[in-house]
Structure formats: C-alpha cells, structure tokens
C-alpha cells in the first residue's frame, strides 16, 4: 500500500541520517543565494557545517517578510537558467513572495504529492477532478502533477463553474476530487437544490481537502453528505505548496514528509524549540530544494507532533490538524488574506475613515467577505452617487489586492471599534 515503500517505511535511524545529510546540503546550497550568503556572513555562520540535527538551531529563522524583502530573486540559489517554474503568493504590501523551482524540485514535489495521494487510495485507474485554482497559486498545479505521476486521469477544471463540475462528475465518472471544504459544502447545497442526492448520484470515493482550515465536524458532515472519505492535505507555497503533509487512510494526523522537510515546533514568543508533543508554531526547512532552499521558515501555523507510530506503517511523523495561526491571517475561498492588506487599501482611499471591520460569513456554503467602513465627515456631500462610487472603487481596489471580491458596507460614524490599541478587526462567523 505504499507509493514507494523504501521512502515511506524507512527506519528511524536511516531517516535521521538522511535528514542530517540533506540538512547539511540545504544549508550549504542556501548560502549560495545572496540573501542567505549575506545573512550567514553577518552572523558568523559562513561555512558552518551541520554535524548533528540540533546544529540547525544556531541558524536564524526565515519569515515571510524576509521573502518579501528578497523580492524578486534574493533567495535564488541556482542560476535562473536552471529554474523551470515560479509560483507566487499575494503580498501584504503589494509585493508577492516568489518561489523558484528547478526541474528536480518539481519532480520531488510531484513525488511527495503522489505519495500522499497513494496513501489515501488514489490509483492509476482513478479520475481526478482538480477543483482548485491553477496559476500562481500552488493548489491546482501541485496536486495535478502528483496525480498525473500516479497515472490517474487528471481533469484540470479549476475552481468555480459548479454546473460544469457536476456535468463532469456525471459524464466522466469522477472518482477523486481535490477541493476546498467551503466549496464542497456549497456544492452540497447546489446538488440538494437540484434534487440530486450528493451521495448517490456520482462515483466519487475520495475528496482531498486543503487550503482552508476546517474542523473534524466539517469533515464528518462532508463524508456523510457525499458518502465519501475526506482527507486533509497541508502545505504552503513557501514550502512548494500542497503535499508537505498528508493524511493516510487512518485519518489520525498528517504525515509530514520528513525526508523532504526538517520540522521543528517552537514557542512562537521565545523561538525556543519545544519538546516533542507540545503545541506550537511549525517551522520548516526544505531538505531537497535546489532552486530556492529556505532555512527554518516560520509557517505561523500552530500544531503539534502526534506521538507514536501510525498504524499504516509509515515512519514519517504525523502532525495534528492546524489549530490556528500565530498572526492575524485568515483564509477566504482558499486565499490567504491579512487584515493589513485590507487596511492599506482603505487608508489609501480618500473619504474612508480609520476605523474598519472585516466580517467573514458563509451563505449557502460560500464564503462572504464584508468590509465595513466609516465615511470621513469632510468627505460626505450628502450625495448618494458619491457614496456608491466610493463603494465601487473600494470593491475594485480590494479585489485587486486580496484577490477576493468583498462586499463593502458603509456604516455610521462611531459605530465601529476605535483604532486605538489592539482593536479586533476581524469577526469570523463561519463554522468550518
């Protein structure tokens, strides 16, 4: 039941020595980039060899800000000629964070995705409908390559267009889907409205769910509604994308592929590495990546290692379902958004006062993002058109920056929390 038994069932000693070898290589390769080259030289770490795994603790963390500051290619560790693909995630200040991949990076990524897909039962005979966004976002292409590697028939339909999704379910006999939990919930509503039973109308067996945090209750609900098995997949674009960790059929946590990533769990306040099993922030180092090695990346995701060996036999340790974030990022329709992105747009738009509120809600399974703003007193001319123009302008500008179309609500002055201190700016009414 293994995609590659030697890799997945590797003994603990072998895995540790493989990690040590690869970690030393990763640090050495990272040092070739201008960003890490300068950083290591400045910290007296230039040429420092990793002799045991704990030596990595001498190296500084890498943050999203560091990635942004090294835009576009400060962390590139190879010649641009060797790069075959670039992905990007949205940036808080307008600048994206870019990740570069060599041909071997893409092939390694496809391999661990194939490993995860195989672990949950995806086979060559499957019809894999990939309902995630393609493009710069890693969700679509990441799983696409893994499923193709297994030999499944991949339908690169992307997200949205529910009617066509349903047609393909029926006409092609789709057996595996890759989807966000919110979109699958929405499809459940749509199918029921059409009088189609989600559990009896199709051949779907498996859903791979990623890009959005969700609860065990939501998983159970989707499994019952559709009569399928739902498996979690974790990843982030800085670490390639989806497939960093994957559940197996036992659904008892996500196997983090430790031959590709070195994982630490730290106290987010002190940066100290926590004893195994304690909950904290996940920190990852790419072990194999050539194009853009990243050392000790702060994911801001909160999880813990699950102790003991999984019944499936895989040696790679499991992490628990993500418990939340150490920052204020939130996810809407699979897109990562920071309140500061919204705030920047609001503050650059004449007529908008400084207090604002972001409300997240869900209607018929679809995420809705509303931004409430107050109008500046000196801006108001008593004109309805003026206010509608402002709404429209904000909607367009926000969409451009956060990639999700919000609804913009104008509210009376003084009705929003004042901006002094640490006012709570996001209210999440969704239950996932």
């Amino acid at each position: 039941m293994f995609w590659n038994e030697k890799e997945e069932n590797i003994s603990e000693e072998e895995l540790l020595s493989l990690q040590l070898r690869r970690l030393a290589g990763a640090v050495e390769r990272a040092g070739r980039s201008s960003y890490y080259g300068n950083l290591f030289a400045g910290k007296g770490l230039k040429g420092k060899k990793i002799k045991n795994l704990d030596d990595i603790r001498d190296f500084p963390f890498t943050t999203k800000d560091d990635l942004r500051e090294s835009y576009p290619s400060g962390m590139l560790a190879t010649s641009m000629d060797d790069i075959v693909r670039m992905h990007a995630s949205s940036g808080t200040t307008g600048k994206s964070t870019l990740v570069f991949h060599t041909g071997r990076d893409i092939s390694n990524w496809a391999n661990i995705v194939a490993r995860g897909l195989y672990a949950v039962g995806v086979r060559k005979s499957d019809i894999f409908q990939n309902m995630m966004s393609y493009g710069l976002f890693t969700g679509g292409l990441g799983l696409h390559y893994g499923a193709e590697k297994i030999g499944a028939l991949v339908i690169p339909i992307g997200t949205g267009n529910t009617e066509r999704q349903i047609d393909f379910f029926k006409d092609l006999g789709t057996t595996v889907i890759h989807v966000t939990p919110s979109y699958l919930l929405h499809m459940g509503h749509v199918l029921e409205e059409k009088g189609l039973s989600p559990s009896e109308s199709f051949n779907i067996r498996i859903a791979i769910m990623g890009a959005e945090p969700h609860s065990e209750a939501t998983r159970k609900k989707l499994e019952e509604t559709f009569g399928i098995k739902v498996y979690n997949c974790y990843g982030l674009s800085e670490m390639n994308g989806p497939g960093v960790a994957f559940e197996c059929t036992f659904q008892g946590g996500l196997h983090l592929w430790e031959d590709n990533y070195f994982a630490e769990i730290i106290n987010p306040d002190t940066g100290q590495v926590l004893p195994e099993g304690e909950e904290g922030e996940l920190v990852l180092t790419t072990l194999c990546r050539e194009g853009m090695p990243i050392i000790r990346y702060r994911t801001k995701d909160i999880t813990r290692f699950i102790s003991g060996r999984c019944a499936c036999g895989r040696t790679h340790r499991r992490i628990g379902r993500m418990k939340g974030r150490t920052d204020d990022m939130f996810i809407v329709k699979g897109v990562n958004i920071f309140p500061s992105q919204v705030e920047t747009v609001l503050m650059e738009t004449p007529g908008v006062d400084k207090n604002y509120m972001i409300i997240l809600d869900r209607k018929e399974g679809l995420d809705i993002l509303s931004v409430q703003i107050e109008i500046r007193r000196d801006f108001f001319r008593g004109d309805l058109y003026q206010l509608r123009d402002l709404q429209e302008k904000l909607r367009e500008r926000l969409k451009h920056v956060i990639l999700v179309t919000p609804s913009v609500e104008l509210v009376e002055p003084g009705s929003l929390p004042v901006s002094t201190g640490k006012a709570k700016r996001v209210i999440d009414k969704r239950r996932l």
């Binding site: 109008i375 007193r377 108001f380 001319r381 008593g382 004109d383 309805l384 206010l387 509608r388 609500e409 104008l410 509210v411 009376e412 002055p413 003084g414 009705s415």
Partner: protein
C-alpha cells in the same frame, strides 16, 4: 438660496425614529423629508424651520450630515403648477436631478425643492423669479 440637510443612515430599523426623536426634543419642526435608498444605506434629506440648529444638533449626536444648497421656490397648490416650473427649466436645458415638495397652505401654496444640473442655483432662482416664483430662504414661522 435654500438649504437642505442630508443625513447618512444605515438601512436598519429605528434609524428614522432616532432622527425624528432628536428633532422633536430640540423643538425643531420638520417641513419635508425624503429618503434616497441604496440597499444597505440611504440618505435622508430634510428641510426644517431651523436648518442650522438641526444640522448642529445632528452632528453633535454623531450623525454624518451635510448641508446642501438647493432651489426652494413657492408655487401655487394647484393642478399643473410643477409642470410650469419644469417647462421653464427644460426650455433652458436645466436638468432636474431631484425634486420633492410639501404643501404650505392647502389649495393655496406649496414649496418645491429642486436639485438641478446645468446651471448654478442663483441663476435658476433668477430665472424662476423672473417668472414670478418667489425663492424661499427660511421657513421660520
């Protein structure tokens, strides 16, 4: 030149009630009120017997308010009276963007409030005064 007060309001129960309550307490007499609605919010336009006082008190109560210059003329309370004014303006390519009114004396006279485009307010008042329409500045009794 006539004045109207515009107030931004969210489309929620009790919003109008709050405004009328404030005006009652301040002993301000409302002459006319109209609401332009845009879904989740609207703008209340208001003419009172003391616009200055009404503006200040609503502002004090944290409402988003603005003063606007409008054309306010007295017309007869009779069939076709508004039509005559509309015709005069049309002949001069002046566009009526918004209009409302109220009766001042049943069967005798009414006030007509106009927001226009294509000419400034003094010019419109001048045109209407030439046609024997009196501009109303204040409704103080």
């Amino acid at each position: 030149m006539g004045k109207q007060i515009s107030i931004f309001v969210e489309n929620k129960p009790g919003k109008v009630n709050k405004i009328t309550g404030i005006l009652e307490k301040a002993k301000i007499n409302m002459k006319a009120m109209t609401i332009a609605d845009s879904g989740s919010f609207g703008i209340i336009k208001l003419i009172t017997d003391d616009n200055e006082k009404a503006f200040n008190i609503l502002r004090e109560k944290n409402f988003l308010v603005s003063f606007q210059n409008v054309v306010v003329v007295e017309i007869p309370d009779s069939v076709g009276a508004f039509h005559k004014v509309a015709k005069i303006l049309e002949d001069r390519d002046i566009n009526i963007e918004d209009a409302y009114g109220f009766i001042m004396e049943e069967g005798v006279k009414a006030a007509l409030i106009l927001k226009v485009a294509g000419a400034d307010i003094p010019r419109v008042e001048e045109i209407l005064e030439k046609n024997n329409y009196r501009s109303i500045e204040k409704f103080n009794v």
